[in-house]
Subunit: 269 residues, 2 copies
DNA sequence: TCAAAAGTGTTGGGATTACACCCATGA
DNA sequence: TCATGGGTGTAATCCCAACACTTTTGA
């Protein structure tokens, strides 16, 4: 590796950015179906000028990766993420397609349930349902697909599901969320048994009535429910508590991004 | 994010490197137990001068991440990797512990079965068994643990197991490898059934005798055995065939690294 | 009393485990 | 004929999908 001059010339180091797939659960539509929504940012430079892309920003040495990801969130939405997890790092020189080579450290985040229409609009930002995405810049479509795949495979983690329901919830609500994310019907009776048997939930003792029918028991996640499943020393996602600490360390991380339009990082020329 | 000057000042961009955990299956010891071995590199700079660390190298913009990882392999061992997969990207500013902030894109690789004693020794490189590792620099111990965890969770993938046995093998051999990697005893009879039922294997028609007992049937992995399990568009590991293409694109990737001593990348000051 | 949702029971199949057992082989 | 490993059988268990069923509620 590297004959001759071992010292790396500066122009040989690629650009490095952090890119985020921000997922939210939308409201039910006419067909009683809920979808995942995500915000995209319109590119203001070549290549892919005018195309939609994932939000991102440059990586600064003084910030952790998670905090950088957190800041890409703040640049596109005022919502607070409740879960954040590293996805994958993409760095193929080919993916820049005309821009300078760019390494993207990708994260995915959950921001809970969102009524997209009620969000304060931001310049150059728009939300899309996962089954109605526009063409995306670069390899961003692949990154989105991967993020959704990961969410589906995390759906048995309290850290994740906690974000998609309220603090307390009925089993039917939990079931509806699971069906929405999985994108397939799930037998309610079996879901109930499986979920209760997992030991993740505890009864609040209260009940909630939705229509005029029999009220349903309310549950919450047990406080110790997200104990490390396999090996505590391994990289894991961050839940709301950990994220608030990450955010607290950030100077102007969220709230007013002022007149700044949201950024996309990837491979800008 | 970022009030005022949006253009990133150069000194705010962190160093970026690629780090690899190179795993090999060692020979059986007295107790008939086999272990995972990995090569480490002695650091020649502060911090952690003299400590053992994972091999790594800087990331160049013109190379893919996989090729960079491949080159960290070439810098520590002449063995050809048969499997390579991205692990995780570590980038906490705290992890540099006195060096400049360093983002490490970590890979893990398999180089098959190795008799460590017979390897050509390299300057500043030594192999260690996974249960007899020295103290490692930085957070490298955690990275090793994570790599082994990932290997264990990939053991049902033909791409991976193929690397740990020969082209053809008896079920007992396959069983021994699984036990060694999992680190626990596995019922042979059930292993046999499960493995055959998975459809990954096909009989060669030949037989092999080890002692003086009844000869065992030889199997090989089916050519189409590693079809994408879940979703083809997702990031996956690379097997030997794909790696040879990656390596072919590299100018002086393996073979003679000449008088160059192996490098560690992480967080050098 | 009725619709709608809450919640329970029952059954069968598939996968896994533990362990006993038979078979083939050459010394 | 015997030890050794190759290979099969089997019963117990667990988990899960399917779906019928009972209960509770307010209108």
């Amino acid at each position: 590796m590297g004959i001759g001059n071992v010292s790396e010339r500066r122009d040989e180091a690629p650009q490095v950015g952090v890119t985020s797939v921000i997922l939210a659960l939308g409201p039910a539509d006419d067909g009683d179906r809920r979808r995942l929504w995500l915000p995209l940012v319109r590119r203001v430079r070549e290549p892919f000028l005018g195309a939609w892309a994932l939000p991102g920003g440059p990586l600064r040495a003084c910030r952790s990766l998670e905090r950088s990801a957190y800041e890409t969130l703040a640049s596109t939405t005022d919502l607070h993420p409740g879960y954040l997890e590293q996805l994958y790092t993409f760095g193929d020189p080919e993916r820049s397609r005309g821009g300078v080579p760019m390494v993207s450290i990708c994260y995915w985040a959950l921001v809970g349930q969102v009524d997209v229409a009620s969000l304060e609009p931001r310049h150059n930002v728009a939300w899309f349902a996962d089954d109605a995405l526009p063409d995306l810049a670069f390899d961003h479509r692949r990154i989105v697909d991967y993020a959704i795949w990961r969410l589906r495979h995390r759906l048995d983690m309290p850290k994740v599901v906690r974000e998609l329901v309220g603090a307390t919830f009925t089993l039917r609500e939990l079931h509806a969320v699971s069906e929405a994310v999985e994108g397939r019907p799930i037998d309610l009776a079996n879901f109930r048994r499986r979920t209760l048997a997992s030991g993740m939930l505890e009864e609040t003792g209260e009940r909630r009535r939705v229509g005029r029918q029999r009220p349903a028991a309310l549950y919450r996640f047990r406080a110790d429910a997200d104990a490390p499943a396999d090996d505590g020393s391994l990289p894991q996602g961050f839940d709301a508590g950990e994220l608030s600490r990450i955010a607290a360390a950030a100077p102007a991380s969220h709230g007013h991004a002022g007149a700044l339009s949201a950024l996309t990082t990837d491979m800008r020329p």
